[in-house]
Symmetry: C2
Amino acid sequence: MRAAGVAGTGLALGRKAAATTEASPNPLLEVFAKRQSVRQYKPDPVPEEHLRLILEAARRAPTAMNQQPWKFLVIRDKEKIARMKQRVMDATLKPIDARLQQQTNVDEKDLEPRRKAIASVEGYFSAPVYVVVLTDNECPWPDSAKHDGPLAAGYLILAARALGYGTCYITGSIPEAVTREVLNIPARYTRVCITPIGIPDGWPPFRPKKKLEDLVAYESL
Amino acid sequence: MRAAGVAGTGLALGRKAAATTEASPNPLLEVFAKRQSVRQYKPDPVPEEHLRLILEAARRAPTAMNQQPWKFLVIRDKEKIARMKQRVMDATLKPIDARLQQQTNVDEKDLEPRRKAIASVEGYFSAPVYVVVLTDNECPWPDSAKHDGPLAAGYLILAARALGYGTCYITGSIPEAVTREVLNIPARYTRVCITPIGIPDGWPPFRPKKKLEDLVAYESL
């Protein structure tokens, strides 16, 4: 098996990792710093081998009493993706169009929010594969599943980044009801999130972050 | 800055990572597979440099609308750790001792659960440093903080493993009330978990896991 990785996607992997010294002292920790939410993807498919590596990493997340309450629902069917997109698009445009219809004169500038909304929804649905992360409400410790779910989703996302892929931990932007209805997800499962996986259509700029000092307290708050 | 890592703690890092080829195709993904919950630590301190790298990784977790609602409360004060331990020990032994006191004859075998309980609590509190992961209820999107909290804690734990340290995502075994009272954590903060960080006193055996096939569904459940 060759070293897994995606050429030219911005992350030193495998043998290349040994070359990083001064700038990034630890290639493993470099992945955390390089992860960011991606909202526009290239259509290139994610090889099954990579998808399995990503899911293997996800299911190694901490889980209370080793209960592993997860289901990872993988969606590559373009028809299903298109149906989700249509549902989200309709819901997104409805209030915008209602507002526009109340206006007597609509000029180019008034249409800008509509164009942006369309581009945003199209971006979310531009990836070749989606994973819906679920937890099973019938697991032994459902309260702990509230931790287990985000933990596995977070590991999935980080592993994808390690392989050079972009992701986005989506909750509100693709509403739970849309995934539940289009993908026939039974009530037995709690949806944690849905994430696209794909090669980014360019890595977005890094978002500004709080100072570490503002997040860390030593000994007392 | 030299390549960060802890010698002899079981994980190929930095230059060593380049040597891994066949057995572990990607040293970045190897970390996920090697992470496990550690419940007995060596007393060796965690260098400040490593602790900062771990916290830097934690706060790079996905966070809704970039809200970063986290507080990482770092505890190294042995007195505080001892007070938490005493509280947990008392609560653990109380029902065991009550049961023993009701018995007319107590032999060596009857005392075994008590010894095991003591060893377990001592193990949880054998680390040199603890991080309480908190989210701020006054953050802009408290509902999303339910995701942000475990995400950051999971990244913290994985980054610690990347540097050769053991951790344990603890909720019930060190009750929230104990951390809240001993460490004076205001009601404003939700406790996500508390984790020890330290060099494992031996890596525990890996726990059996479900088959990947049982966790993954393609296209429909």
